[in-house]
Amino acid sequence: MGQADDRTAINPAARAVAPPFTPRQPDIPRQADTLQQPHSPGHSEKARSRVNLAVAIAGLTLPNPVMPASGTFGFGAEYAPFIDLNRLGAIVVKTITLHPTSGNPPPRLMETCSGLLNSIGLQNPGLEVFIQEKLPYLRQFSPPLIVNIAGRTVDEYAELARRLDAVAGVDALEVNISCPNVKEGGIVFGTVPAMAARVTAAIKQNTRLPVIIKLTPNVTDITAVARAVVDAGADALSLINTLQGMAIDVETRRPALANVAGGLSGPAIKPVALYHVWRVAQAVQVPVIGMGGIMNARDAIEFLLAGASAVAVGTASLVDPGALMVIIDDLENYLVEQGLTDVRELIGALQI
């Protein structure tokens, strides 16, 4: 692991991304190749079937540790033409707020070097429409459904938790605490350990569902927030949400995003995300879902080795709608190649 020339080990089809700035390639190695032929030759079905990919998180059993990241997977239906949703480790939907949220004005997106800045502003149809119109569709799939929620006040978080507890088909809540508390000067919940803990406690009091708190990296010490929310009852943690950033158009001297600042995602943030996951996994006893810049199975494996029990894939699905399937297949191939029989052997297996 970790050696540059080792990069084709996961997938003999050599789908790994070539070094940047290569002039012209005769043929672009394609993720779709593995999509159409998920089981790369060389691994017998027998070897594959002996591999366990299932992991447990907050009382849920995930058939494999790979899930979409909230906000990059819509409400699932958008990806149905491209992938088999039943093959996911879990389904994670876009953040739901109590009332419909219209979001920020455009432009909302700006690509930066190896990254994507977004300022969507949590545009979503609100809880009621989610329950009435989106949930019935999502219920038909077998992987656990994780509903991501956000509030503007502690009470809104509590109400979201209470109402989602009462509907069938929701398996866990993921709590986006990267939003401002309108009652307390607009301070982002997730940046103050005590405030993050209060949100967690209020949600736990209002639901029997497992609660996953999603941490923001825009803090001085992420482990302080992690410990505070675990003490308040969080069943699992997910991290990282996007890093605050901006870009400027030098011709017009205006910010590239109408909202001026946005959240950075994609491969650019992977080392930061990995470091945060590694630190948090050591600081708390609950399982961690790692994310931030995962583009392929090797990236996912790094997060598992750093201590994550599962991973989420965001920006990669925007680049290639089939990315989640490729990552699941390649993770399995890696295990077979390494002679491992259980993905859990990788979790926290970092050697220092």
Binding site: V17, A18, P20, F21, T22, R24, Q25, P26, D27, I28, P29, R30, Q31, A32, L35, G71, T72, F73, G74, E78, Y79, P81, F82, K94, S102, G103, P105, P106, P107, R108, L109, M110, E111, C113, S114, G115, L116, N118, I120, Q123, G266, P267, M295, T315, S317, L318, V319, D320, P321, G322
Partner: protein, 278 residues
């Protein structure tokens, strides 16, 4: 919002696949015409739809780029896009040569509904001619439908696709800012003049490439009895409606703000001009 487009998307299946470059031709300066072989998309695509195209493997350049379908050639299993080299993504596309593979997602967005008969007008500014060509070609296949095309640009060399339009349109009217064609007059004025002079009843107008042109069509709708549509562009990431990054403001009288954000990729890219909040 289902009243102005052909909502047959349920029947066409969007796919992520690869295609092979068949031809790459420099049309003018920074403008290229790219022909891609991808029969599955070519068979399903309709005018107004677009593809997300990725023609590089650099990890520093992440997102695929959206391009309108300039021509849809189902019998040949090919698609054509007319594109302007602007930044890194389009520069990469310009480097690709026949035989090379590209990744594409499509057909994305909603196709337009053409009237069975009568007359339509296409108003394109610069690269805005790109999505109009697919309309002209499809319309030409309908016996009773006349197509009047109006193209403008800074100078003659930038009047893109005018030979192609000449093959399909009943008439092509040109205007250049340098005054070489039609003294650089506005396409809306030229359209109004044609209607007034010849009494042609235009049913729909499609425009792309200039918001000013689209706004100019607003007051003309009632007077001349046509419905005008614009191809909107917004920066995109997924192109399939999942990220909510590509929104535009669309009028919605009942809503608190009087407008809602609609996704250009999934709800568009074609919108009636009087629905758009300018």
């Amino acid at each position: 919002m289902k009243f102005y487009y052909d909502n047959k998307r349920g029947q066409s299946v969007m796919m992520f696949t690869k295609g092979t470059i068949v031809a790459q031709r420099v049309v003018s300066d920074q403008y290229h015409l790219l022909t891609i072989e991808q029969p599955d998309i070519a068979k399903q695509a309709r005018p107004g739809q677009f593809i997300m195209l990725k023609a590089w493997e650099r990890i520093d350049l992440l997102l695929p780029r959206p391009f309108s379908l300039y021509r849809i050639l189902p019998e040949r299993g090919q698609l054509q896009i007319l594109y302007q080299v602007r930044g890194q993504g389009t520069a990469e596309i310009a480097r690709r040569v026949p035989g090379e593979k590209v990744e594409l997602t499509g057909p994305a967005g909603n196709g337009i509904v053409l009237p069975e008969e009568g007359a339509i007008a296409l108003l394109g500014r610069g690269i805005g001619a790109a999505p109009l060509m697919a309309i002209a070609e499809t319309a030409a296949a309908r016996k009773g439908l006349a197509v009047y095309t109006f193209l403008s640009a800074r100078k003659t060399e930038l009047l893109l696709g005018r030979e192609d339009f000449a093959l399909y349109a009943s008439r092509v009217t040109l205007a250049t800012d340098d005054g070489h064609h039609n003294e650089g007059r506005l396409l809306t004025a030229l359209l109004a003049e044609m209607i007034a002079r010849e009494g042609i009843a235009i049913r729909s107008v499609y425009t792309c490439g200039s918001r000013r042109l689209a706004r100019g069509l607003l007051p003309m709708q009632a007077r001349y009895g046509f419905t005008a549509y614009i191809f909107l562009e917004e920066t995109m990431a997924c192109g399939i409606g999942s990220c909510k990054g590509c929104v535009c403001k669309v009028r919605e009288p009942g809503s608190p703000a009087g407008f809602v954000y609609k996704k250009v990729c999934q709800d568009g890219p074609v919108f009636p001009v009087d629905k758009v909040v300018w």
